[in-house]
Symmetry: C3
């Protein structure tokens, strides 16, 4: 969390390092690619789906098997996975200089119109955690399907303060 | 406009600064994210939808509520919004060194097959405005839905000549 | 191919330059955009579809007109086109420092659930060719349609060892 921009609903009242301890364990990928690529002062996150403890927590289409509230929870978990990987592989959350770009893909039923509300959960969490450094450009896309039948997938591009090794 | 590569159908006969005056007002975002993130010599545009004067001008699926011609107009307006934000927040259009990448997402009806024709409007406009600096890599994707029921969303990644502040 | 990480199923037993000779001819784009944008030490590939000898080899939806095996072959050809462009315009395959990010879009029939299996072909090939430098972050998205009715489109972002001119 950005210490100078705390708000009442900030995830923690402590430091970014303290907040990082509350994150879920970063979940590995299951094939020949990486959950995050760090190169110079940039980090490229893979598309994060709502995984925890080795399994996917939400599956199905938003507006069908997955309610709006569940899809929002999924977006939060995707974002937490991204943060967990940044913490693990990009020099810790304190090394985040700026969240540059966020993409939120939502797999949804016909007629579902609340994809931006789902992305707002991700954008809001990044603002709570990083303050101004968490503000980002964003695109939200309603798609047909996502890996493992996930309702939400979130991808981020992040600028770092210092290269990692 | 690139003064050395003017064509008969260039948006203006004058400078990039003159052209910028003809652009629509850049439309703000409605949640906790930014329409453009500028970092070092890079600008990351948020997904632009066809907004003008605070409202969305086209809504519905291409090939259904939105005709091909209207979807092309939407793509033009999305591109103009991106240019308006570059002009406003990235040091002016003269500070654009290269349009690196464009993504065009089209929400369309079943059986609609002209998504590339819609993206061509965006690519063509960038070439008219910037000449060789406007040439970019591109991906065009047909999706299920877009924010605010927009038929088109355009995202760009841009290299700048100089950092902004 | 990374000479230090050869595997039995590596595309060639020789150098990256030898492997490059086995790639299909890079196919040009048909409108006012570029198949690859090289800027500084970065290369941004356009969305590659399965083209060869001026035509598209696979068209239709995965799980409908295009079988899973055909979609996998399409993903391989998309990846080979990307490699052919890197070889042609980015200083040769030896100039690839790291594949930073891969996006795989699959246009598929209702109920098709194997989009990640299709992307695995692309990820696997990059690992075979480049070894550790081919490991990348990845997102896989199931979409409604792709240009020229392609079942697969692959986009990459690549870090280079040296700028190209």
């Amino acid at each position: 969390m950005n210490m100078t921009e705390k708000t009442a609903d900030s995830p923690t009242d402590g430091s970014l390092a303290d907040y990082a301890k509350t994150l879920p364990k970063p979940e590995p990928t299951v094939f020949d690619y990486d959950p995050i690529t760090v190169h110079g002062k940039m980090a490229y996150l893979a598309g994060q789906i709502p995984k925890r403890d080795g399994g996917i927590v939400f599956s199905g289409l938003a507006g069908e098997a997955v309610s709006l509230d569940e899809a929002k929870s999924a977006a939060r978990l995707c974002t937490e996975q991204a943060l967990a990987w940044l913490n693990h592989s990009a020099g810790g959350l304190d090394n985040v200089e700026r969240i540059l770009r966020l993409k939120c893909f939502v797999a949804h039923a016909d007629g579902f119109t609340q994809i931006s509300d789902i992305a707002d959960v991700a954008s809001g969490l990044l603002g709570e955690v990083f303050g101004a450094a968490g503000r980002h450009s964003r695109a939200v896309l309603g798609v047909k399907s996502l890996p493992r039948n996930s309702p939400v997938l979130i991808e981020m591009t992040v600028a770092l303060r210092q290269p990692v090794d």
